[in-house]
Amino acid sequence: MENNYKKLTEEIRGFAFELLKDGKVDRVIGYGKEEYSGEVTPLFITAPDESNRLIFNSECSMLLAKYLLNYRESRVAIVAKPCDTRAIASYLAENLLKRENLVIIGINGCPGITGNTACIECTVRNPVIFDFTAGEAIDKAELSPRVANELEEMTAAERLAYFQEEFSRCIRCYACREACYVCYCEECFTDSNQPFWVGGSVKLKDNFTFHLMRSMHMAGRCINCGACEMACPEGIDVRALPAKLTRVARELYNYEAGMDPEQKTLLTDYDVNDPQPGFLD
């Protein structure tokens, strides 16, 4: 069933209005439009009358789930794309949020976001956790996620050249980090000077260190939502490395992050029979 944005928007506005009117939440986090540019932007509303400022369309790229970390102690409703619901499920699994404080308005049958290459790899399309849903759910049997294999087919030298070219453009603005739901550390390794992990220059070696270390922190946690790539102003393929780790976790351990709030995290769930390729062999 095709969802249209007008209908999704109307349904979202209806839920937001009722929730605020009945005092069930203090705040609704959703998408709106900037007044002058008309661009889609995160919108935070606290009064029922503001509900008609909420919208949903294919430009709603920002991963709103990350804002929940700013409101851990208040009651919040959030407009959540399926990837947002996975991020929320992960946060709940990591005990970062209280479920009772959250009202999740999930987007059913998410049509994908313009320009986000992660959407073609999406295995979910419906919210994994929700209180209300807008739109019609998609039958999972109809899904045919496609994984980009171009990088896998390259030789190691070609891949190195590819990432050298990509990371050479990095200006170290950390938009990828700030947009990523996983990157909530109080102090990022990039900001630490004791120990000193990575220099602040945009030399290739520092850029590589940043992206490789960030990617390693994503193992078993990246939900392949593409927020990093969408945030990057330099059009860098920031997602490639974390997405690879996501695939490895799936292939080796049949693990996908953020599918269930009760789920254990990959790195805290050890089984003696777990495959250990590369370890002491």
């Binding site: 540019s37 920002m62 453009r169 938009a175 947009a179 969408m230 860098i236």
Partner: protein, 338 residues
């Protein structure tokens, strides 16, 4: 003085100049899935595009993102690059931004030798805008996108005709091959363009500098900056943001761009952070541009180039922020800046 050329003559001119100068100009660059226009050193004039405002400012030529500090003594920059650069096609917003950088780095009290060296090594040829993009608001801030006399030479392009207005005769030798042009024709272009820019749907009535105490302690900052992610995009794309940090590596010291949007920017060695939250950091950025810099140097530190909102991952629009400040100050009863 006016000099004129067609595109063939312009190409010849740039080819000749490239024997004595390095030439940097806006070029199209493929960046992954994005096609961008950036200022780069060029090999041939054919690479140049004057089509629209470049996505990044030419700030990096004056304040490189990494700069090695050869000798850690004030006033002693490193190996001098003797070959001068001609920076071609710089628009009003970026020319005005250089004045802001000059305020800071060529301050009477302290002249930054590194910046000064870049400034002296670069000859700028300005460029008149023929049309704005939706995020541009230089006109609102009193900057004229059509003409600007702060570059020694300023270029107007119309079709296949290139008119060079020479403001500083000292640099007229660069264009000596070209025939002189007609002032009247140029005046016509200026008038035409001024008319096309006259319609401005974004107006501001702000006291400049913004009154520090009233604006600083206003209640709206938390709401305005609620969506700010705290990345450095706005500051790195900003033509006037100049903050930097130092890094040492095996005895080599360098300075690299830094950003007041980063939580670590103001973090003290003790662990205390005077700007604890993102709204305080965002407020700092707006206050610096609209209150502190004008207070210290008599000039806004924003030129309305619109790059902060073009590149912001959450589309935070500084125009909406300024409008909120405006209506708050008006409500407060016409607070005038001291």
């Amino acid at each position: 003085m006016i000099k004129v050329a067609n595109s063939e003559e312009l190409e010849q001119l740039l080819n000749r100049l490239s024997q004595d100068y390095k030439i940097a100009a806006p070029v199209v660059k493929r960046k992954g899935r994005k096609e961008r226009i950036e200022y780069e050193y060029i090999d041939s004039p054919g690479e140049i595009t004057l089509e629209r405002q470049p996505d990044s400012s030419p700030k990096k030529f004056f304040l490189p993102q990494n700069e090695r500090m050869e000798v850690e003594v004030a006033g002693a920059p490193g190996t001098e690059d003797k070959q001068k650069t001609i920076l071609f096609g710089v628009r009003s917003c970026d020319l005005e931004a250089l004045k802001v950088l000059d305020d800071v780095f060529l301050d009477d009290n302290y002249i930054d030798a590194y910046y000064q060296q870049h400034r002296e090594n670069i000859i700028i040829i300005g460029l008149s805008c023929s049309e704005g993009k939706p995020s541009c608001f230089c006109g609102t801030l009193g900057i004229d996108p059509v003409k600007n006399d702060s570059a020694p030479i300023f270029l107007y392009q119309r079709g296949d005709r290139y008119y060079f207005k020479v403001y500083d005769e000292e640099y007229a030798y660069l264009l000596e091959d070209l025939p002189e042009g007609d002032e009247g024709e140029l005046a016509e272009i200026v008038e035409e363009r001024a008319a096309s820019f006259a319609e401005n749907n974004f107006t501001l009535d702000l006291p400049v500098p913004l009154p520090e105490e009233t604006t600083f302690s206003a209640p709206f900052w938390g709401d305005l900056a609620e969506k700010c992610l705290g990345c450095g995009v706005c500051t790195y794309y900003c033509p006037t943001c100049y903050c930097f940090g130092f890094f040492w590596e095996q005895g080599e010291k360098s300075r690299c761009w830094d950003s007041c949007m980063f939580a670590s920017f103001t973090k003290h060695a003790s662990g205390h952070n005077p700007r604890r939250s993102q709204d305080q950091r965002y407020r700092q950025r707006v206050m610096h541009k609209y209150s502190y810099h004008p207070e210290n140097y008599g000039r806004l530190a924003c030129t309305g180039c619109g790059r902060c909102l073009d590149n912001c991952p959450v589309n935070l629009d500084i125009r909406s922020v300024l409008k909120t400040v405006e209506s708050y100050l008006q409500e407060k009863g016409g607070v005038k800046s001291g």
